[in-house]
Subunit: 162 residues, 2 copies
Amino acid sequence: MSDETIIYTPIGIISTPYQRIEDMPIQPSGASKVRGKLVLNPEFTAGIADLDGFSHVYLIYHFHQVHDYEMIVTPFLDKKPHGVFATRAPKRPNPIGLSIVKLISIKENVLILDNVDMLDGTPILDIKPYVPAFDQQKDVRVGWLTGRDDDAKTKRSDERFA
Amino acid sequence: MSDETIIYTPIGIISTPYQRIEDMPIQPSGASKVRGKLVLNPEFTAGIADLDGFSHVYLIYHFHQVHDYEMIVTPFLDKKPHGVFATRAPKRPNPIGLSIVKLISIKENVLILDNVDMLDGTPILDIKPYVPAFDQQKDVRVGWLTGRDDDAKTKRSDERFA
């Protein structure tokens, strides 16, 4: 059952200023005002009707430059290794990225977005509206990230996940 | 480029109380204290090291009972139709689900989770820690969901996305 394969097809491609996996922001919080352009496959244009009422959206995407994975990684925000599922590192068994970006404008099949933290040319798999009533949790503990999570605003990537 | 196919393999399967697509919670906020058991493929057990420090995790999963999609849907929380990407409805071009659940305990390759809102037997693609510094946005607008988002605590699914 868990060996079945699942096949997805990108709904579009995002253009960003990041051509190389080094020296990138490691989270949208480190990509403030960095602009990207998501061009949807035109067959999906009808699917973004009414999205313009939302200020923020989730992008679910494929880390297309990642070709292997490790179970234990040393993430950018720590010097100690952790299990890959306890990190946001891109080298994952299924290299799926998740970022919350700001929706600036929509014109036909083109979305202009701020706070983008993915590589140029990244294939986008899904867009979902960000809804605080669903998505903001209380009484949160963040394990090894305690006291380090704010460093994501300034910390940049290096070559380790290339 | 956007026609390339992307292949994923589930990292595990979640057991939940929901056997049928009707009469389910439509968001984790409507599944308070509903317990699920995620059994990871044992080859990935090392990847959850240190996850137990986090109180909440994202599950990214495949809506395995969804076999088609529509560009315009009438979601459970409204009587009017909207573009599918402006909703969380499961019938999406890539039927990828995203839920934030509470991590109760971990023992070897088994995670006990609360607030699960997915079908029994759902294949899980990824687990990521939920980190407020990355994931909580300010000055959010929620479009057509304004004033309706809180209804997700009580509203249940029907057969429309079966």
